[in-house]
Symmetry: C2
Amino acid sequence: MTSPMLSVCGLVAYDGSNYHGFQVQVGVPTIQGALEGALAAITTPASRVVGSGRTDAGVHANGQVIVVRLPWRHSVADLQRAWNAHLPPDISLRRLVLAPEGFHPRFSALSRTYRYRIDQYDPGGYPPPRRSPLTERYGLFVPRPLDLEAMRAAAEALVGEHDFATFGQPPQGVNTVRRIFEAEWRVVHTDLPPLDDFPGRRIVFTVRANAFLRQMVRNLVGSLLEVGRGRWSPDDMALALAARERSCSAPPAPPQGLIWERVEYPDQLGVWS
Amino acid sequence: MTSPMLSVCGLVAYDGSNYHGFQVQVGVPTIQGALEGALAAITTPASRVVGSGRTDAGVHANGQVIVVRLPWRHSVADLQRAWNAHLPPDISLRRLVLAPEGFHPRFSALSRTYRYRIDQYDPGGYPPPRRSPLTERYGLFVPRPLDLEAMRAAAEALVGEHDFATFGQPPQGVNTVRRIFEAEWRVVHTDLPPLDDFPGRRIVFTVRANAFLRQMVRNLVGSLLEVGRGRWSPDDMALALAARERSCSAPPAPPQGLIWERVEYPDQLGVWS
């Protein structure tokens, strides 16, 4: 009376505020640990959840992709429902499907897309504007002017295939060459009239690459913030990149502004269809 | 060596998730309690913080207004800095100024503006879309179609001076007549391309009135959701209003979607200028 083994692939969203990152670590709450713990409540023996990558402590995700092989005798929809019922409210399994033949959440990926959100207020008068608790859980509050055009110019220099050794260590091996397809700052305009009379704007950095080094997005954003503040010129960004030297990066931007939005797979795999 | 007494008026934003509402209650965390506790760390004797109104447990604010009379010998900017330094991260004192002569945060107010945010997903396929932890802290997740035109028609019937006894009890006295100046549903369009491929939209209800009864906004939204789901017609909303009977309201919408955005005062008071 053993259950048949299934390989399922899931889309996971989480608020990373209360977790020490994705990967299981002894004695601290992690996303992978919570996913496996919830699964252990509904299946035996324990199954290992494999993610498409790691996130740092405090980083969020809308589209982490996981795969797990487990014994299950009911439908995949039933598994999704049961698994979600055992997850804490800050983690959600948004999709769950049978994994395509040969699918691996990391090795099958073509690219990953991250976003970094900044709520930037101009200091109009004294004292300067104060942070708003309603925006800082998923964004960085910056109470000073930022030169967006300079940040855009600096970001452009990152697009293409480069050795990003300045901006992070590889998760394994020694290869620090990555290809960035898109690295763009956008001002978020919405047609909902603001009721908050603080002078400011929300800017969002979207970056998509074949893969990222550890802390690479946060180091890139930290360095782009130096450009925005006028401490670095856009050319300094290109020089930092060319140095291929970890010490040439600015400190990483804080984790709470970072959201892992999506993992892109080849269409022919038909992962979610 | 006593300090001079100051009356100051502040603009307070808070994430209400971890509080039992604004008003002080014994043995549970409240916004007023946290504000007074932080103040007690920097001034003696203890001072009472007076708000422009209450919020329920779990409701958020961008623009709660408070007034407090306290002994202080330094600048108001110093007081704001010191007070903020003792507040928890989910509460922020965004502005602090000397209170205008005769100012009262509640009685001087002309109107209050609230917003209720809904993330509405259309069930495309089976199983239906799952909640996203990144949007549900400040919004309600509704995984079904909502008839927005019907909700708009129903909201229109609320504008004007009416007896709102169906939708709440008065905070004091017996008068349940209030004047709604604006009650409008908007779809939030933003020029940031969505990376989330779940079919859905964010809709926001903005309501401004001279004053509100207890739980009135949540009861109005709860009833408008009945209209959106097709269980009530827009006319049923007008009938519920005309009944002036608490039992004729739908259950209140959950608190986490509600944000108290602003309190409006007469220009000539020059509160923040």
